[in-house]
């Protein structure tokens, strides 16, 4: 059954409804923390601390941002009217309108925040939502299916559980927008289905997000932030640092420092409460296969326990062109395996990155402002952090999204609100004046006058 805005009788339009729903969403998170922690622990083996800072706090930040700004975003945006069309007497506005019903399809790696984040922005723009959370994060999806009807308006937000067959059925329907987070292969399927109905889409995909470590770097901070970004959620983050390009002059300091940092984080990762697991045996097997192909390059970790879905934090080192032959460079790793590649200069890292598809995120660790600016302007990615990893995701006013193979359409902040709205242009034309030089029969002598009046 699909929600239709006709059946909701325009209920989603008023700001009061949207605020009520957003507050209810906030409550859902606040009142069910333990249940959410437990569900994520069961599905992903991720500890409560990381679920808190990586998922729950993020949703709350986004909701706070929306609530503070909603009235302003919803308000008619006045723009100037050209002289020719009666500036001062006519008015021109942009009024955001809901699109209708938005389909949100989310993955298993952030199984709480990605569905709720999507719902928050979709509701904020006055739409109804149908959420299809991942069947792989079973426990979390079941929990959302139980909690969402308890807190949100059942006529306007629905959950559909299932896998490929259910998604295929859903895609046969007409939607007013589709928000898909996942991989490029399925992204193309979504897009083809959307094309059938001319449905606009937002695709949050992935790719290999590189980290570049310059020789002029605050090494202590860099080591911690890179290790943190990589091993959070056991590397299963769309914007996780995928591989490192380190300047040859600091390569040894970096590698040794990174080993120490990981040890300081987890001591014994297998027994550490703070270290997660791979989502399924199948995914763990994929990672184990990748490791086996490059066993001789492993310089730290490399322990695998498939039954426990455990892969230890693993570092590999590649010199010269060896990396090009590795399967590790041909797919998004999406796990706690970090290839480290030595480069001769920052220039070389720019070339390396630009030879490959545009990533979802790019990370540069450097103290040199000039080099930083050069790097930012000469590479392209969805987002970029200087001297950090992952954090741009939780700055609500930064649009979050990809470019090229990593996706298109960003959301968060006002960009998120606008993404799920239709920005309707409104011209209210005065009838008091109606200059005849606009109409035929055209007097060619008027061209100059019109040239001054027209924008």
């Amino acid at each position: 059954a699909v929600v239709s805005t006709q059946s909701t009788g325009g209920v989603t339009q008023p700001i009061e409804w949207r605020i009520t729903q957003l507050n209810a969403l906030h409550q859902l998170v606040e009142e069910n923390k333990q249940a959410l922690f437990d569900a994520v622990k069961e599905d992903l083996g991720r500890c409560a601390y990381e679920t808190n800072i990586g998922e729950l706090m993020n949703i709350k930040t986004q909701i706070k941002c929306i609530l503070s700004n909603l009235r302003h975003w919803m308000a008619p945006r006045s723009v100037s009217t050209p002289l020719l069309h009666g500036k001062g007497l006519s008015t021109s506005h942009i009024i955001p309108q809901p699109l209708g019903v938005v389909l949100i399809i989310t993955p298993w790696n952030y199984p709480i925040s990605l569905p709720l984040d999507g719902i928050a922005y979709v509701i904020a723009s006055g739409n109804c939502a149908v959420v299809k959370p991942s069947e792989i994060s079973e426990r979390c999806s079941a929990l959302l299916n139980e909690l969402i009807p308890k807190y949100l308006d059942n006529n306007c937000v629905k959950v559909v559980l299932g896998g490929v067959p259910e998604t295929t059925e859903l895609l046969k329907q007409r939607w007013d927008h589709i928000l898909y987070t996942g991989n490029g292969v399925v992204g193309k399927v979504i897009l083809r289905a959307a094309a059938e109905f001319l449905t606009p889409t937002t695709l949050e995909l992935g790719g290999k997000s590189p980290v570049v470590v310059d020789r002029n770097v605050s090494m202590g901070v860099a080591l911690k932030r890179i290790a943190w970004g990589k091993f959070l959620n056991c590397g299963q983050t769309c914007i996780a640092p995928d591989y490192v390009l380190v300047h040859k002059d600091v390569k040894d300091e970096f590698i040794n420092g990174l080993k120490d940092t990981i040890t300081s984080f987890y001591k014994d990762p297998k027994t550490s409460e703070d270290y997660g697991r791979i989502v399924s045996e199948r995914h763990a097997k994929r990672l184990a296969t990748l490791l086996d192909a490059d066993r001789d390059k492993i310089i730290y970790g490399g322990d695998v326990d498939l039954k426990d879905k455990y892969i230890s934090p693993t570092l590999l080192y590649f010199e010269g062109d060896a990396i090009n032959n590795s399967q590790l460079m041909h797919e998004e790793i999406f796990g706690p395996i970090l290839p480290i590649i030595s480069v001769d200069s920052l220039e070389d890292s720019v070339t390396f990155i630009n030879q490959r598809p545009k990533p979802l995120a790019l990370y540069l660790f450097s103290k040199d402002d000039a080099m930083t600016q050069l790097f930012i302007s000469r590479t392209s990615s969805g987002g970029l952090c200087v001297n950090d990893t992952l954090c741009h995701f939780s700055v609500p006013d930064l649009p979050f999204g990809g470019v090229g193979d990593s996706g298109f359409g960003g959301y968060h902040g006002q960009t998120g609100f606008d993404r799920f709205s239709h920005l309707r242009a409104i011209l209210n034309k005065t009838t008091i004046i109606d200059p005849s030089l606009r109409y035929p029969p055209y007097d060619y002598g008027n061209v100059k006058i019109l040239g001054y009046l027209a924008p």
Binding site: T61, S272, C391, G404, R424, K429, A454
Partner: protein, 510 residues
């Protein structure tokens, strides 16, 4: 799947990859070259438009050239500002990091232009794409043959093939082009072809802007000023011989208004084009015989079956492609003219409006149009129609003209299209909006990193409860002003000045 156009696209991509297109100076140069081209070759383009659409110089200037020049100038004047990083507030918990958005080029853009404004809808996207630092392929419409030829001849005289390339042709050439990967496709045309473009783009995960069409309804109520209504309706309908995507498609009015409106429309048409519009230099022509035959068949069918009555017009001369400005009244909802976008000089009037809700229902039952129009003096009716229907744009007491306001986003919704164009929107669609988070290294609280101790867990638990306010963008200057003001007042009134005030604050809170 390899395409014969792959080398051409690769060449354009090399220019982008070399980062030649990034600097402001390069982009400004491209716009200057475009301005030069427009100044020097305007006449040739006007001639082509005359051949393709029978458009007189004035209308070509008004609806094509002046819009192109205006847009290029607008991009030129605002480019430096748009290229600057756009700062956004940072989450309090992530301070003192700096957060900003940078607009960077996408790569190679494909612009597929239609035949109805074949010059404007090729050059304005070209200008926007170049301003945004991209390289471009233009596929002009093969139906507007003279304009296509003119573009193919003139553009290479101003732009190198490694920056802008023109590919002429029809379905076969477009299909071949679509096998290549582009970084954005800008398409103007029908919803049917829009679907094909979108599907082809899906294979490469290419984002698209689709400027499509539909039936743009006009509601005329009892309070409308019928003289102004008739004049504006007639002009916006019959300009470009009705071949405008946002042209009024059909009229809904109360039965009591129909006859008066119809007769004023007839008079307005005569006022615009004279007793014989065929002789007016200001009345354009249908693009080709096929389109004219389609229109003629629809009108003939409907009038013969009693589904419409001719008020004026109806004449079609295939040799000269002249189709008379035609107004039909007492049109039924099952008539041929109501089944598809008319895109020609035929204006049906349906006298079925008892109240404004009828209009709301009629319009909402149909695909969302590119534009919706109301002629009325009743603010309540205006508001009801605006708030209860959806369309790309909404106009009160006029039609079409919003297209020339840079500040209003132009585009459709639902079946009428995806994406926004004009003004700053044109720039944004051809950019990647890159989010940048710049975190200084002097502050690095350990509670972020494992091992996550019980103490840290408690801190985070309470920190997340803190209603650390998210300061909305609009209030940030005020907050800064208040804080700075407080510091100034504190320093001025404290006997120890700023130092004394600061040390008092420190001793109080630490």
């Amino acid at each position: 799947m390899s395409s014969k156009y792959q080398p051409l696209v690769d060449n354009l991509r090399k220019t982008y990859e070399r980062k030649t297109t990034i600097p402001l100076a390069w982009r400004k140069t491209q716009l200057e070259v475009l301005m030069k081209m427009m100044k020097e070759r305007e006449d040739e383009f006007h001639t082509a438009l005359q051949i393709d659409l029978g458009k007189g110089f004035f209308e070509s200037w008004l609806t094509e050239t002046s819009l192109i020049n205006g847009n290029i100038q607008y991009f030129y004047d605002n480019l430096e500002k748009w290229m600057k990083p756009q700062e956004v507030p940072c989450t309090p918990m992530l301070l003192p990091a700096k957060s900003y958005v940078i607009r960077e080029p996408l790569g190679v853009i494909l612009v597929i232009a239609p035949w109805n404004y074949p010059f404007q809808l090729a050059i304005v996207p070209l200008a926007a794409a170049l301003a945004a630092g991209n390289t471009v392929v233009i596929k002009p419409s093969e139906i507007a043959t003279a304009t296509s030829k003119a573009l193919a001849k003139i553009i290479p005289e101003y732009f190198d093939k490694s920056v802008v390339n023109i590919v002429e042709g029809g379905v076969a050439e477009t299909t071949e082009l679509l096998k290549c990967k582009f970084d954005h496709i800008f398409f103007t045309g029908s919803p049917r072809v829009g679907q094909i473009i979108y599907e082809a783009a899906a294979k490469h995960l290419t984002p698209v802007t689709l400027e499509l069409g539909g039936k743009s309804p006009v509601v005329v109520d009892e309070t409308a000023d019928l003289d102004v209504t008739a004049k504006r309706l007639a002009w916006t309908k019959f300009m470009n011989c009705g071949q405008t995507c946002v042209a009024p498609d059909y009229v809904l009015c109360p039965a009591s208004v129909q006859d008066k409106l119809a007769s004023k429309l007839e008079k307005a048409i005569e006022g615009l084009y004279g007793k014989n519009p065929r002789d007016s230099p200001d009345f354009a022509r249908v693009i080709n015989e096929g389109m004219g035959n389609r229109l003629f068949r629809m009108v003939k069918d409907d009038t013969e079956k009693g589904k419409a009555e001719t008020v004026t017009g109806g004449k079609w001369e295939s040799q000269t492609r002249y189709f008379a400005p035609t107004v039909l009244k007492n049109v039924t909802t099952d008539s041929a003219v109501m089944q598809e976008e008319i895109f020609g000089p035929v204006l049906p009037i349906l006298p079925i409006l008892d109240n404004i809700e009828d209009a709301v229902n009629f319009i909402s039952e149909r695909p969302k149009p590119l534009s919706a129009i109301i002629f009325s003096k009743d603010k309540k009716n205006q508001e009801i129609l605006r708030s209860k229907t959806s369309s790309g744009s909404f106009l009160i007491n006029d039609a079409v003209v919003h297209v020339s306001n840079h500040h209003l986003p132009f585009g459709g919704v639902g079946n009428s299209g995806i994406g926004r164009f004009h003004g700053p929107y044109s720039f944004d669609i051809f950019c990647n909006l890159k989010s940048v988070h710049d975190n200084p290294t002097f502050l690095d609280p350990s509670l972020r990193y494992p091992p996550y101790t019980k103490t840290e867990q408690t801190i985070i638990k309470y920190a997340s409860k803190l209603k650390a306010p998210h300061i909305p963008q609009s209030l940030v200057p005020l907050v800064i002003g208040v804080v700075v003001g407080a510091v100034i007042v504190g320093s001025v009134t404290h006997p120890g000045g700023l130092a004394g005030f600061a040390s008092q604050l420190v001793s109080k809170f630490i």
